[in-house]
């Protein structure tokens, strides 16, 4: 495999880990408010899958999407500024942590109502297919989202019409405090694709390379006109569901077992063994990531707040009590 790709993975994951840890600090210090859902432990999923995609592909994500935004190329500064609710944020301070957007990068946003990513992705895919475009939509969702009606309704439509979507399940085995065996009759998410005749596969979501390869395969499948593909990535979140959740429902043992398979450490080790990235190089990348987040924090702190409450509700503003232009 190419050295630069390995370096990219290492940098992306280091940045992801660093960004989220610093965001947590900022939340505790009160610079960030609202719900803050962090990604430590799941980095290999966003990094591996999004690095396999083309710039023309669309991305639809959930409220746990900081890392997806970063890997997609939204600057740490623009993401951090959004978490701070500032005008230089990627949603100009109006969206916050759960609603990162960047239409130029075809990043169609973070959605906070569980299950919304399905129809949005299907809509973008419908438009692509209607215009015979080669691009594909990457649609992210959690294991809990699988039980929302939109999962079912959308999978039927994308399969029926052969729409270009790769459905990527970030299966971290929890719906807040409810473990997957307590919320799903079938805990292997990829097996739920059978009801739609959709090609599906499960992959180790702690292994960035495995996720990358599986996503490339899925994207080929879809681009070749074979219809949608569902990719289940088994992963784990180290922290609670959000900063509001201490995560007391999980045993220390469970967490430590999963931490032993940490996607950063395991891939760094492998990259070193395979001779892709030497230890000192890896240290350098981690250092780069740290300073990138330092800069992001400084930028966010300096960014002004948005000031217009009534901005951008409509493309053509309306006055509620005046129907005449």
């Amino acid at each position: 495999m190419r050295r630069d790709l390995a370096k990219t993975f290492l940098y992306d994951m280091a940045l992801a880990r660093e960004f989220e840890q610093r965001a947590a600090e900022q939340y505790t210090e009160g610079k960030i408010a609202g719900f803050l859902h962090l990604y430590p432990g799941e980095e290999a999923v966003a990094v591996g899958s999004l690095r396999a995609a083309d710039p023309g592909d669309y991305v639809v994500t959930t409220y746990r999407e900081h890392v997806h935004a970063l890997v997609r190329g939204i600057t740490p500064a623009a993401v951090m500024a959004e978490l701070f609710g500032r005008a230089d944020g990627c949603s100009r301070g109006y969206g916050g942590s759960m609603h990162l957007f960047d239409m130029d990068r075809r990043f169609l946003g973070g959605y906070a109502i569980v299950g919304e990513t399905f129809p949005v992705a299907a809509g973008a895919a419908y438009w692509l297919r209607l215009n015979s475009e080669p691009d594909v939509v990457l649609c992210y969702f959690g294991d809990g989202a699988v039980n929302q009606g939109t999962f079912h309704e959308t999978l039927n439509m994308v399969a029926l019409w052969g729409l270009p979507v790769v459905l990527i399940c970030e299966n971290n085995h929890y719906q807040i405090g409810t473990e997957i065996h307590r919320h799903s009759a079938i805990a292997e998410v990829h097996k739920r694709a059978c009801g739609y005749g959709i090609e599906a596969e499960r992959v180790d979501g702690m292994d960035v390379l495995a996720v990358y390869d599986a996503t490339r395969h899925a994207l080929h499948h879809v681009r070749d006109g074979n219809g949608p593909y569902l990719l289940e990535c088994e992963t784990y979140r180290y922290r609670g569901h959000s900063m509001a959740d201490p995560g007391a429902y999980r045993s220390a043992l469970e967490v430590s077992e999963l931490r032993a398979r940490d996607p950063l450490r395991t891939f760094r080790k492998r990259a070193n063994e395979e001779g892709w990235v030497a230890e000192d190089e890896a240290d350098g990348l981690a250092e780069q990531a740290r300073s990138a987040v330092d800069e992001a924090l400084a930028f966010a702190d300096a960014s002004p707040p948005p000031t217009e409450l009534h901005a951008d509700v409509y493309v053509e503003p309306i006055h509620l009590y005046r129907g005449r232009p």
């Binding site: 973008a124 209607l130 309704e153 509620l320």
Partner: protein, 344 residues
């Protein structure tokens, strides 16, 4: 049943309309869609039975044959997701016209309409544009019973980010839908099952009034009757009756429920000093409440009586025909209330 009427016509691919032609409302909508599809490749229509079947109320008749399945798409019974699909397509360049067969089923699609279509632009800091049209007929038709007689306008008029129009005339069915498809914001076009097969004059090529402007459909100096959708004809009928009794009513067709054209209402009340809202919506917390509150606030010292409301009864709609009729405003109910207040 309304859907069975007009079987002899085939307006799916309507010939140029002659001046003074009469059309049915469904034909006006059909013409608007036909032209929108022809003029703009970004437009596509999606909903249950809109394609091969031609639409439950014939509104999309002929379009599937002309534009094909990708631009006129039959959907499974998945309202929330196919409306959400419209949102996603609109975000990336499409101009979807989603048909929800009736508002009753829109209760299943409110997350897509309220939490997505209406909020995306704002929460993305102005990056996203959602040029989506959601068409649906609402209201009480002929004994469709409780679950098929829902009214939802009070809910949708409250939603920041949405626009909502409710055409009453054949001309407005054509005009407001045409404007809605061209609008860059999400627009709910609230139709009425009982208006589809009403005929009315249609003049083609004439300039269209602003999408959200109210229209005075009858001038009068004694009392202002405010209505929308099917209730406009009820108000006009009441005005006729009252005219014979020497009470001269002005009838204002709201045409739009978000925004509303309060200015036109104020102008009318400045003349009449008395107003009444006729709504098919249930009274308690209905559209009329906002109209009345807004008028009271803005024209309080013009008003010689509080703005009255004649509205749907606060009950689920009964199946039995007489009870159903009693559950929604009829012109006699309007006339009665006007008489009360006109004298007071």
């Amino acid at each position: 049943m309304s859907e069975r009427k007009g079987d002899d016509t085939n307006a799916g691919l309507l010939a140029p309309v002659e001046p003074g032609d009469q059309l049915m409302a469904w034909q006006a909508l059909n013409l608007a869609l036909n032209r929108a599809l022809a003029d703009d490749d970004a437009v596509f229509v999606l909903g249950e039975d809109v394609g091969l079947y031609g639409g439950n109320y014939r509104v999309t008749q002929g379009l599937y044959a002309k534009y094909g399945e990708w631009r006129v798409r039959d959907a499974p019974i998945s309202e929330n997701s196919f409306t959400g699909l419209g949102v996603g397509a609109a975000m990336v360049g499409g101009r979807p016209v989603i048909e929800i067969m009736t508002v009753n089923f829109a209760l299943l699609a409110l997350d897509a309409i309220i939490n997505m279509a209406a909020k995306l632009r704002y929460m993305s800091g102005g990056q996203v544009k959602v040029p989506l049209v959601v068409r649906m007929p609402g209201g009480v038709a002929h004994q469709l019973a409780a679950q098929h007689s829902q009214r939802l306008e009070h809910t949708l008029m409250n939603v920041p980010g949405l626009r909502m129009v409710a055409p009453a005339t054949v001309q407005d069915h054509y005009g407001q839908l045409s404007q809605a498809v061209r609008a860059d914001d999400p627009v709910v076009v609230l139709e009425h099952e009982l208006l589809y097969f009403h005929s009315g004059p249609f003049s083609d090529g004439v300039g269209l009034p602003a999408m959200h402007a109210a229209a005075v459909q009858r001038e009068g100096g004694d009392f202002t009757l405010i209505a929308y959708s099917r209730m406009v004809e009820v108000a006009l009928a009441a005005a006729e009756t009252l005219a014979e009794e020497g009470i001269d009513c002005e009838v204002v067709d709201l045409r739009s429920l978000r925004p509303i054209d309060l200015v036109t209402l104020q102008d009318s009340v400045a003349k009449t000093h008395r107003a009444l809202v006729v709504e098919e919506d249930c009274r308690f917390g209905g559209v009329g409440a906002e109209i009345a509150a807004a008028l009271n606030e803005s024209a309080f010292f013009e008003l010689e009586a509080p703005v009255a409301r004649v509205a749907g009864a606060d009950v689920p709609t009964p199946y039995n025909g007489e009870l159903e009729a009693a559950s929604i405003p009829e012109s006699a109910d309007v006339a009665e209330v006007v008489r009360e207040w006109a004298v007071s």
